[in-house]
Symmetry: C2
DNA sequence: CGTCTATTTGAATGTACTCAAAAGCGGTGG
DNA sequence: CCACCGCTTTTGAGTACATTCAAATAGACG
């Protein structure tokens, strides 16, 4: 339940003094969740941005035909939320699920606004976070547009070896935008060569 | 060559006083480009973030097999750059091209850093810009993962009617991640019904 | 141990691509 | 003003990539 990790995460981009650290921590809610718990369901208001202190989360969208699309995984030291709905206080389009027993640190929209007012440096912190998220997603789009499923799977393994170990094939398939059956076929072909 | 538009664009998210406006404008470079001019080529250092004052730009990636993937269009009042390379001073992965005669306002990385120091409110402005870009790309990924090409085309027309008028079918196809031939077939099917 | 879910396998199908060729369209120069 | 050029769009046939459905097998967990 230590809060070292989140402070270190913040220190990557901005410097806080003791008082600012204390204020920030006072705004954070600590939450223990078991594997398979849903932190957010479609249609709910997304109140929090979540920092993974320990464990792992997954954000996914479910369409009318019950097809899942994994939007992102978040392992230790990652931030995750349904950003659109968090920012605009709209009903969530995605589910966020614990894929392991996890310890999550939550920052609410209201507290984030307080934080921006009292410690404007956090504008910078979240700017950098958003920049990184944006460029990551942009790269993912390029890959989705130009690569075959097999190539995307290769890239995924190279870029996110931590994810590849932590999550099921079914979930990887839904991140890549293919069926579990086809991912299985891809893996079979790979070993054959 | 007026700078009203960019100031209005900024005023959507933060309030500047006269002095701050003047300082901001002093950092901006004005550029007129003809249709088909490349503002950025793959491999170059991406020095600027571009604001479209008049005209239209397109960012696209070209893979080993010469296949183009359009990353984004930017019409009047939009910001566009190769964000990853702009931020990290890396060689660009994308081309940015004028798809009409355009008037572009450019802000360099160095000047942006100056701006952050002298007018920290801009941290907020670009945070919001990045947030919006991020959530937009995330939505695009969900659509790419769950919808067929025809559905994606429908959404594109609904969401970006301005784009649909300004750009060629070939470019729309490369934004949707399909071949021009297949987009042509989709359009044929649509009218048939 | 039994149950539930994940993964694999294979056949049939559908979606989108490649290649080639024709038709359309816009700009440029004579 | 028209003829020509280059590029975009259309069309169609053949093919490749990826899905669906069903069933068998393997793993995880209480």
């Amino acid at each position: 339940m230590s809060q070292d990790l989140i402070l270190k995460n913040i220190a990557k981009h901005i410097d806080l003094d003791k008082e600012e650290e204390t204020f920030f921590l006072s705004l954070i809610k600590n939450k223990e969740v078991d594997k398979k718990t849903l932190l957010l369901k479609e249609g709910q208001i997304c109140k929090y941005i979540n920092f993974v202190n320990t464990g792992a989360l997954r954000a996914f969208h479910v369409d009318k035909t019950d097809k899942e699309a994994t939007i992102m995984f978040a392992l230790q030291d990652w931030w995750i939320t349904d950003m659109y709905c968090f920012l605009n206080a709209k009903p969530a389009m995605v589910y966020i699920e614990a894929i392991e027993d996890s310890n999550i640190l939550q920052l609410s929209k209201e507290n984030l606004e307080k934080l921006y007012i009292k410690v404007p440096k956090f504008e910078r912190f979240f700017r950098i976070l958003m920049q990184n998220a944006y460029t990551r997603e942009q790269l993912r789009i390029i890959e989705n547009l130009t690569l075959t499923a097999e190539q995307r799977y290769e890239h995924f393994l190279l870029k996110y070896p931590r994810f590849a170990k932590a999550v099921s094939q079914k979930q990887i398939a839904s991140y890549l935008g293919i069926t579990p059956e086809f991912l299985s076929a891809i893996r079979k072909n790979k070993t054959k060569r």
